[in-house]
Symmetry: D2
Subunit: 424 residues, 4 copies
Amino acid sequence: MKHSIEMTNSLRVNRGQATDWYSRYESTRHLSERILAPLSAEDCAIQSMADASPTRWHLAHTTWFFETFLLKSLAGYEVYDVSFEYLFNSYYNAVGEQFPRSQRGLISRPGLKETLAYRRHVDQAMADLLAAENLTPDQSQVLAIGLNHEQQHQELMLTDIQHVLSCNPLDPIYQPDRVTSENLSELSWISVDEALAWIGTDTDDFAFDNERPRHRFFLDAYRIANRCVTNGEYLAFMSDGGYERPEFWLSQGWNTVREQGWRAPMYWSRSGDGWNQFTLAGRRPVRDQDSVSHVSYFEADAYARWAGCRLPTEQEWEYAVLQDLPSQASPNPRLGDAIGNLWQWTASQYIAYPGYRPPPGALGEYNGKFMCNQFVLRGGSHATPPGHIRPTYRNFFPPEARWQFSGIRLARNFDLQDSQCEAG
Amino acid sequence: MKHSIEMTNSLRVNRGQATDWYSRYESTRHLSERILAPLSAEDCAIQSMADASPTRWHLAHTTWFFETFLLKSLAGYEVYDVSFEYLFNSYYNAVGEQFPRSQRGLISRPGLKETLAYRRHVDQAMADLLAAENLTPDQSQVLAIGLNHEQQHQELMLTDIQHVLSCNPLDPIYQPDRVTSENLSELSWISVDEALAWIGTDTDDFAFDNERPRHRFFLDAYRIANRCVTNGEYLAFMSDGGYERPEFWLSQGWNTVREQGWRAPMYWSRSGDGWNQFTLAGRRPVRDQDSVSHVSYFEADAYARWAGCRLPTEQEWEYAVLQDLPSQASPNPRLGDAIGNLWQWTASQYIAYPGYRPPPGALGEYNGKFMCNQFVLRGGSHATPPGHIRPTYRNFFPPEARWQFSGIRLARNFDLQDSQCEAG
Amino acid sequence: MKHSIEMTNSLRVNRGQATDWYSRYESTRHLSERILAPLSAEDCAIQSMADASPTRWHLAHTTWFFETFLLKSLAGYEVYDVSFEYLFNSYYNAVGEQFPRSQRGLISRPGLKETLAYRRHVDQAMADLLAAENLTPDQSQVLAIGLNHEQQHQELMLTDIQHVLSCNPLDPIYQPDRVTSENLSELSWISVDEALAWIGTDTDDFAFDNERPRHRFFLDAYRIANRCVTNGEYLAFMSDGGYERPEFWLSQGWNTVREQGWRAPMYWSRSGDGWNQFTLAGRRPVRDQDSVSHVSYFEADAYARWAGCRLPTEQEWEYAVLQDLPSQASPNPRLGDAIGNLWQWTASQYIAYPGYRPPPGALGEYNGKFMCNQFVLRGGSHATPPGHIRPTYRNFFPPEARWQFSGIRLARNFDLQDSQCEAG
Amino acid sequence: MKHSIEMTNSLRVNRGQATDWYSRYESTRHLSERILAPLSAEDCAIQSMADASPTRWHLAHTTWFFETFLLKSLAGYEVYDVSFEYLFNSYYNAVGEQFPRSQRGLISRPGLKETLAYRRHVDQAMADLLAAENLTPDQSQVLAIGLNHEQQHQELMLTDIQHVLSCNPLDPIYQPDRVTSENLSELSWISVDEALAWIGTDTDDFAFDNERPRHRFFLDAYRIANRCVTNGEYLAFMSDGGYERPEFWLSQGWNTVREQGWRAPMYWSRSGDGWNQFTLAGRRPVRDQDSVSHVSYFEADAYARWAGCRLPTEQEWEYAVLQDLPSQASPNPRLGDAIGNLWQWTASQYIAYPGYRPPPGALGEYNGKFMCNQFVLRGGSHATPPGHIRPTYRNFFPPEARWQFSGIRLARNFDLQDSQCEAG
């Protein structure tokens, strides 16, 4: 129930967002620095793979966002360092050239100390701006995007630093008391009737452009699992030759399994007869009752096929969660861990909603240009900042990505009997 | 009108398929050898890139299909050469290990002469089987798949040999009189109303598993272009900096443009101030009125964005074409070149239809396992064998693929004014 | 004794070379076509790795050499096809651009038949030129280079076609009666005294530029093995963990062993408890008494280290062979298989002799520009054309190359006791 | 004259090395930390290419060397952290597995602070050991190797940090007052007569195994330049199309030029019509009178060919410098910048001297296993620690390496006239 409450809070906060921009700004920025706290300057300097970024880069880039899209055009604002425009631009071609993504780990300066000074400089200017209390609608919108953007990077800071630390044979610990979510309920199936559903959002509150426009989508009846797949269930797949039998895998997935030598989820390592997993709390035994995490789309899909089921489409996922919301007041929400446990891979490739048009200007590069060869994930994870997630929220990663906090929720065609479904 | 008539024929042939399997088998097999006729043994030996296969391999693999899935289990059938099971298996894991795809061009033996002897051996056994006239339903289905499979490879033989010949600075000619389709009609827009459409097929005739099951799909109103984009129109995109301006491109597409140095469609080369294009009829000037071909999804999508339009989804394409069919008796079909001109990239990534389940056994590997990181193309091309294509037919290739006969048809949201759409 | 006789013949032929150019030309060209005889058009079309070339390319390139450097400047000579200058230029920058080496296998035309017609055209023009009997000294020199060049390619045709055929799981046979050399003599050590030796050649007969100038080189006393290492001896190295123990290997060699997964010489494959090897006579059991072949420099060096010995330098090799020559009349030449058994890796990286200057013009690109990251091999192999090899002859390949007919001859410091040398 | 005096000192220090191990240890270790002083924790964490290592790794690895080869076997010594054996072993297979070289930049912990604590721990134990004053001969030898080993890494710390800083578009400055060597003397040629020279060393003082044994080498007469090539001279080569004309380049060098897009020495960048170069003192204009540095063997060799000269062999270099030493007392040493200006590429590939045998045990992996595909450099650079260099000293790098402080000294055959040599 924890997660659904958070979600409700999030919606409440969203509704109030016009009233107290400054406290939202301050608390969001503060969370980034709380995430930073356990790390050394060296931890923050390393880029352990091309897909990840150094912590220090995340801290600077999120700051650059506010400076570039809000402060720079203000009379009297002094840019902290003009070279940062190039160094900390991620992918906005409209803003200018970008320092190559894969080389972010080659930049030792500005160091952590100066990066924090840069944050202070921008925070002060933002405080001045927000104190003036006369944001234009455009400014409000950019500010909301900036805050949500920083929240996205807060989760990436955690996924990326986990990867950095996992490269170290000393198994460093980020936070010893960091918890994983148990998953004690029995697996059961929630039936959803055929519907011409409304998908996406038309909220006046903040939502990303890729969640719009709200539109109709026809759904055949289906069933969806009440909780995520557990380590124990996934181990049964592994024991049954899951990683050795091509019949469960997409062709490209099977190639990846062989080329990368996958034998288990990411961060798992053999320990005697069992398995350990590297986490932000260090390396420790895999627990059967935890939700299986750090799996790729390929693994989620193969597991589902092995189990005689399939993954839900993103529309099935969204419609089921929204249907479930009215029942949250009851003591037994049926999709208890849909929000805030693990990102759940859906069967949907990431494409534009009908009628989608990217917003004009540089911010139009936010979502639309990535609509290719990615799959949609839904629901957020334990690392997603409170208040950031929504049922209509669309995350996306390539099918081979495993370093995110990603898990598996199963679905089935309605007419499929329990006896045909091993997981049933 | 030529193409729609062919399609109608195709449907008629399909309905009659039970009555005359042998003539269908014979004519399909014969077409492969007609395609072979202009080629030398060396032409047939070369694999010019990992995605393509040598002509000789296509000839052997399609033969292996009939031998493996129909003949091998027959009492008295003698396998031509047991090693062929390994050499000519494309990707059927259930049948056994496969010779690596990227190394098909390293195999000089069996040579062309022996490959044709292999075809004769299998053709004789198939003639005996079909003369017996008592195919089981399973055999009929496999035979239908085998014939459609060979037809698919007939188009691939042409796309692959064009690539082989294009690598040769001597500009060899495959067939001097090979034509491209002119596109003389003015561009106009066909309006389609909002609908809860039926998509896919439930035919008793042959259709691929990925076209099933027939299901409902909600469509907002939209407009679709009456014909494919022409070279002349595409040259305007190029002149306007199409390949230099990142704002038109998907992120991954823009990376591909830069890494591959794309400046024009595949097979185009500079000739003075103008452009030539390498075709099966040799290298010759690009003609404005021809449909632009050999473009990737990335290019199709970028062109559409430049034109203020978008690509149709596969459901929009299919519904429009099926709506248009009743009007074929009229002198002016509205989507005259939808079928049999060029494969048209759609905005839809290739995923399973709701309720899809791959067929059991080795043939279940036919379509489902490729549902990842590919986009759907519709409509067939001038190289698609007559009788092979249908409005529900789903082809698919990765977004960077350019060596197929692929073109562009535009669509627009219904409420978009003509003035907002440059192509209008 | 067979090999030394051939060598003597070769020297005699060389001396007579001015008198009968035409018969030398004709017999050299004829040998290329005898090598071609067992091959199909497809065999000749394939380039199985970037280092190798299709047979058909060798046939055309050697012809191009005569056309380019001898015929083209003659009044009245008609170039067969101007595009061949680009297609069949290997690496002569002074002649013009070259078709990329790694793409030679992508060119299906000109086919084998036309390639042979090209040879006929050039052969006729060469016959006319040589009939005139008034070659200038420059022409004579280029002709001698051209003939030696074709002889080099004759050996490459064999090494390259062996590689092509080895890629085929059907184990095709090039020539069923092709023999390997037995090595029945006991291993013994020939002592050579300290000397200020003359190395290289100043012959008036043909020799490559890299064999010149003749110069003094000081040699400490050393010992050199009377014969090449056998398969049986090499198997002892393998049994002793040769491929698993880094202490025997150069650092770069050990990396190669691990990256390539080397476990035995090239072309060896497991057969039950023993080994087979793929040869031009097909796949057959490894025989203990044969000289070990298809080893890289890395393997030769590691074997020598394991045996407590080392490889000879190229100067030690040359001086020993030349010292041995006067004793050839005796019934027991001491270095019986030095010439014409297998190319023997030396410890010498391939650099210029003191005072070396490359010849002017395009032919100056023949040898000098490859003096980097290659090791010298000496002695020729059973695939080297008769009359082509000399004691001063320097061949060279990168240390990882294994597809040549390369073997191992050991050497030792003079003061090293037999007891310290396992191979002794 | 500065450099030759240093060298003399160095020899004197070497002779006294038995008397004061502790002060040598202390001053050597102290220099590493002086090199560290201008760097931040982040600077020390980054590995900017696979060939380079993070500063922190150098600091730890050199410490590991003393711990592993001297301290570990002492009664009572407590290993600082057993995991460091794996983390900081560079390439000693005899000691155990190594953390992959290319991933040294992925390790954020132990951080700089703990690395320095590790140094203190080992320094204390070493102080205790050296205070006892009863080193065995083996211990003395290992200690001498350890000190020379750390000196080698001191130069690498500088070359590697220059590379790290050069990746940063902010052009960070390591030391603003860091100087480059001017080269004011006119180019002149020193003649050396034919000789049977003694090469290598048999000193009782420290020298690396690859400098031994001392042996005879025959040299034809030659000439060698009195100083290194200057930027001004090298710019003339560039202006004459040096990087565009294949005739000057080795085949592999020319491929590298094209693949890497080389247009100038490493670290040079265009600045208007001129050139800047990135140095440890930041980015600044290229000065004509400085010695050209950061060139590869390929560039040194191409420059020499363009100048109508060649590079000296390592034997020619060593013999000339040793001949020149007796004249050092005179006011005009003829090879004034041979020692301590820039490492000078020689024409010699790096192979073992006649009679060379690697020392037994793990330290035998020091030099011998790298004798492959590297060229010898002689003379040390301005970044080589005082007392480390000798005329017999052999450094080695692959021919494409440019990030070392490497320059060019020319040589010529004796009989080559000045008029044939542009550089003359």
